[in-house]
Each structure stands twice: as C-alpha cells, then as structure tokens.
Amino acid sequence: MIKKVLVANRGEIAIRIMRSCREMGIRTIGVFSEADRSSMHVRYADEAYFIGPSPSVDSYLKIEKIIEVAKTSGADAIHPGYGFLSENANFSARCQEEGIIFIGPDAHAINTMGDKITARKTMIAAGVPVVPGTTEPIKDLKKAVEVIREIGLPVMIKASAGGGGKGMRLVKEESQILDAVSSARSEAKAAFGDDAVYIEKYIDSPHHIEFQILGDKHGHVVHLFERECSVQRRHQKVVEETPSPIITSKVRAEMGEAAVAAAKAVNYHGAGTIEFIVDDNLNYYFLEMNTRLQVEHPVTERVVGVDLVKQQINISNGFELAFKQEDLKQHGHAIEVRIYAEDSDNNFMPSPGIIKHITEPLGLGVRHDGYVYEGYEIPIYYDPMISKLIVWGETRSEAIARMKRALYNYKITGVKTSIPYLSRILEVPAFVEGRYNTHFIEENQQYLMPRKNCDGQCEDVAIITAFFDYITKLEKIQPQAITKELGNNWKDFGRKRSILRL
C-alpha cells in the first residue's frame, strides 16, 4: 500500500494530486526549484525538498535528484503529474529499478505510444482506425496515384524527408492529382535530395475528441467517455467539454471500444487518453495516446463522478478496477477553461508578475483548481497557466451560462489574464451552437477581438475612482489639503471652478 507519494511537479496539478492523497490518508512530498520556494505546492505538501535552480531542466526534469529525494524522504511512489517527466520512459524505468512505484504506465507503453510510427503500426494491428495513408515512403508516381485513388480525396502529400511545409501539397480534386504528386516530388528532391513522399487522408474540418481510459494491472480496461477539445490556439487546448456536442451515442460506444482496444494493445495500466481526429461525418481516426493524466481530466471527473487521481493510485497499488464499463454513465455537462497569465489582446504575450488581488468564483457547479494567492509572484520559468475553472450543468446551455457567471466573478489583478478572451469564446455563435472544429479560433477572429462592453458611464466611473483614490492618497500626505478646499462645499462650485481651474 502506498503511504507516501512524492509529487514530481508544481502548480495546480501538484496541489490537485496532493488533495486526493490527503483524502486517502497518504503523506505528500513536494519538490521545488529556486523560483518555487513560495509556491503553493510547497505550502500544501506535508514535506518539501529543494531540488535545484529555477529552469526546469535543472530541477523538475532532474531524474536522479528526484529519485534521491524519494529515497531520502521514504516515498514509496512518485506521481509525475502532466508535463515534465510524466511521459519520460527512462524515468518510469528508473523508478522501477529503484523499487519506487511510478504512478503511470511502464516504459514499454510510454515508448510504444511515444513514437508516432510505432504507435500507428500498433493501432493498425489492434484494429483501431488510423488516418488512412501510406506507412512506407512512396518513390514512384504511378504507385502514388494508385494510393491516392485508394484513400480517396482530399489527401495531403508530404515529403518523406521533409518538414517546414516543403514538398507538401493538398489535393482536393481529381484533376490536380498528377500535377500535385509531380510538383511535390520535385520540390522534395530539391529541398531534401529525396523525392519519396507520404500520402495521408486530409481531414477537412477536424474535431479533436479524446477518450479517457483507465486500465488496471489485471488486464481490465474501461473508458470514461470522451472530451471535446477542438477549441485550440496553436495546438494548445483552450476550452474542453464533455459530452462532445457532435458525437452520437452509437459513435461514442464505437470510439470507446476503439480506445479500450488501443490501450489493451500496449497492456496499458494507469490513466491514459486516446486522442482521435474526427471529421464532420463522425469518421474517427487514432491520433496519439497521452500516457498520463491530462490537464482537462476534471471535466470527465465531474460528469462520470470518478476521482481519476485516486484511481491512478489504486491501480498503482495493484487493485482491480472497482467498476465495469456498464457501471459508468455520463451525468449532465461539464466545461473547463484554462486561465493563463497572458495578455490575450496583445499577441498573447506572457504576463508573469505578482498577484495583487484575487477573487475566486464559487458556488453551485463550480470547481476551481488553481495555485496562486495574493502576493504570489508567478515565475517566468514555467507554464503560464494560473488555474482551471470547471463548471457543471444539467445541460450544455446551463453549463455555458454557469461558466459565464463564474468568469464574470473571477478577478485577478497584478497580471494580465485570458479571462476576458475566454468570456468572448463563450459568446461565439458557433460555440454556443456546438458547431465547431479545430479551426474555430481562426475562423471566429471577429468575435474574439477585444470589445468595448460598457458605455461612457463605465469610463467615467473608472476616472472618478482613480481620481478619488489619488486625492485620498494626497490627503494622507497633506491632511486637510482636500477638506480645506471643500470648506465652502458644493453650493458655490461654479465660482471655484472658474477660479481654480489650472
């Protein structure tokens, strides 16, 4: 039985893990870099150990240092969270060597799923749909045309040796095929000295839909349904929800089975996520597997009613899963947004700094996973995520209304945040109607620009408040300066205005 867990992470996820440990009566060990002495996870942990300089390569990524702390502190398990060492097969293996439980999959599963080509082959073998395309480079024109006809248009031609868009061609029409293959090959030849190409089905309006799975060490695997993660900016998820607004229960069941098959193909144990790319006709294809807890795991926890971190720990303890597939149901709707310390209206520039004031949204249906506090300085070294806001509603529209209410009441000053940007996303018609794909952000720029939401009165109130604060400060320095001015009160303000105007 695990009694002491070292959490090899920082920020909100470290605290989220420690919370579940505390509920299970497990002692927690935190680790921290130079920049993180005042970080909340150090304060939340039962014990905390310094592990090195601020850059993560010198601290949170130092495998040997973390193993050493685990041994010194007597931790019997390590939870890697997400990011940092969470998908590092060497780390998983090193833990095993040292007799420390790695709360996550073994090195074999991480390695297999970590390499795109191997993962693709493994999935094909397991009967999990992958994006149709060639698995070997194609070196001649005739073969290429044959393959394209087989896959069906549209397709993407990619230089085998390539990168940076060189030798890439999107083919949408029959008539373009020959030209496109020829020009892609000669461009590839010129750029990389190799004219071999890959051909892949092009998904026109892709949806990113992923399935949460849990597998124990006894061969049982279940899925906990999907998460819709198509609202992305530069491949970074911004808003996640479950259930997906586009999926049908038939497709859900099929994809769930595929996800379980994918996990079983690598004898997976622990919590993991199978990412699919889904087209408008709900054709779905395996994209990749994340062999760890995801940032967006709370929407699943809320709708399915399962604490995923507790499940991870139970699995690591060697317990069998306490539920079967048919025991799991989705109840209502959950949405998560990620709050970043960034200036969303100024090219999303990062905004580290000191939190001056924070008001957290609370009440019915709101979960808040964060780590900052008043006076805390968000360091420059790590991810700009401040917190995650997760809401639940009986229906999707109630969940959206609740998220708007929660964001309305979420105030952070001192650093710029993405809160106003997120509020705008929730108002975009395509989002409200649940019709969106991964092009959502670029296609809806006009809705996402900063807007003036208040009339002139709001600006006047801003001026008056600043003015009032300023004269109150002045008064503290020169008492009576202000009140003296008011000696004759407001009745004769006309006279004063004409005399005293600068």
Binding site: I463, T465, F468, Y470
Partner: protein, 168 residues
C-alpha cells in the same frame, strides 16, 4: 481644485465638489456625478451610482499618478496629469516618436543578444530575444540605428520595462 486625468486619448477635467462619508459629488467634464464610493478591499472600490453597483479595481502603475483601472469588462490606463507630468510629457515629445531605449515589456530571461555595441542595424532587425513562460519574444529596432550600449547579456533576468539596449 480641478485635476486633469488622461484615459486613452481623452483628457478629463474633474473636481471634487463635496464629500460626506462615502457620498461624494464630482464634476467631470461639466457633468455632475453624485455617488457612494467605498474602498472595500485594498485597491478595490464598491461604487453605487444611481443605485447601480460597480466594482472597480485599481492597480497603481509606475508611480502614484498612474493606474490600471479594471471595471467589469474593461481595463483602462488612467494617469493624473499635474504640472510635473506635463513637463515630462512635453520633454518626451521633443525627442520624437521612436525611443532611444529598447525595454522589455514583460519580465523574462535574455536568451539571445544579436548585436554588439557599435553595430549598425537596419529597421526591423531583431536585437534581443527574451523568454518567459516557454514563449520567446523578439525585440526589434523600428528604423536604422546604431547600437550605443548593451545593458544586458544572455542569461540575465529582466523585469518589466527594464531598458536592455540604448540606440541612437
């Protein structure tokens, strides 16, 4: 006494007419306001204006005269203009539009310095690269310039608005 406050491009004229507890009367650009204003948390004001409830957060800027003011949906930069600020403003104007200092608008770490002192650089050329929170930002010159002085080196941590390069 009336004050001038700058908000975006607007210069507002404002005067406190009376004050009775939380209740103040002010004249703002010839418009009379009576409101109930109360600092409920440090830097957070609750305002009742015609019974409408506003929550306004103030964050002091570089000095006591500048504020970032957050209302419900919007954020304003407000500056109190007095004789001193006016003098500084006028001086600044004389120096032309472009600045002769390249400063970092965000805290971060210098990861690249692409010039040496004395280098001639062309408009749009990147001079320094600063990294924060896994994102790199490039700082460029807006017109052809000469690098006069480098104030930072690779590995330095810079704070917000810290001058990094002096150009001429």
């Amino acid at each position: 006494m009336s004050y001038e406050l700058k908000i975006n491009d607007r210069i507002a004229n404002i005067e406190l007419l009376s004050r009775d507890g939380n209740i103040i009367q002010v004249m703002l650009d010839k418009k009379l306001y009576e409101l109930d204003i109360l600092e409920v948390e440090r830097g957070v004001y609750s305002i009742l204006l015609d019974n409408n409830s506003f929550n306004v957060e103030l964050v002091e800027g570089k000095n006591a005269k500048t504020y970032t003011v957050n209302t419900l949906y919007e954020s304003f930069e407000v500056e109190v203009i007095d004789a001193e600020s006016k003098y500084l403003k006028n001086r600044k104007k004389d120096e032309g539009e472009d600045q002769n200092v390249i400063a970092s608008p965000m805290p971060g770490k210098v990861v690249k310095v692409l010039v040496k002192e004395g280098d001639k650089v062309k408009a749009g050329e990147t001079v320094v690269v600063v990294s924060a929170m896994k994102m790199e930002s490039e700082y460029k010159v807006k017109q052809d310039r000469v690098i006069k002085k480098l104030l930072v080196k690779v590995g330095d941590t810079v704070s917000s608005d810290q001058p990094m390069v002096i150009i001429e």
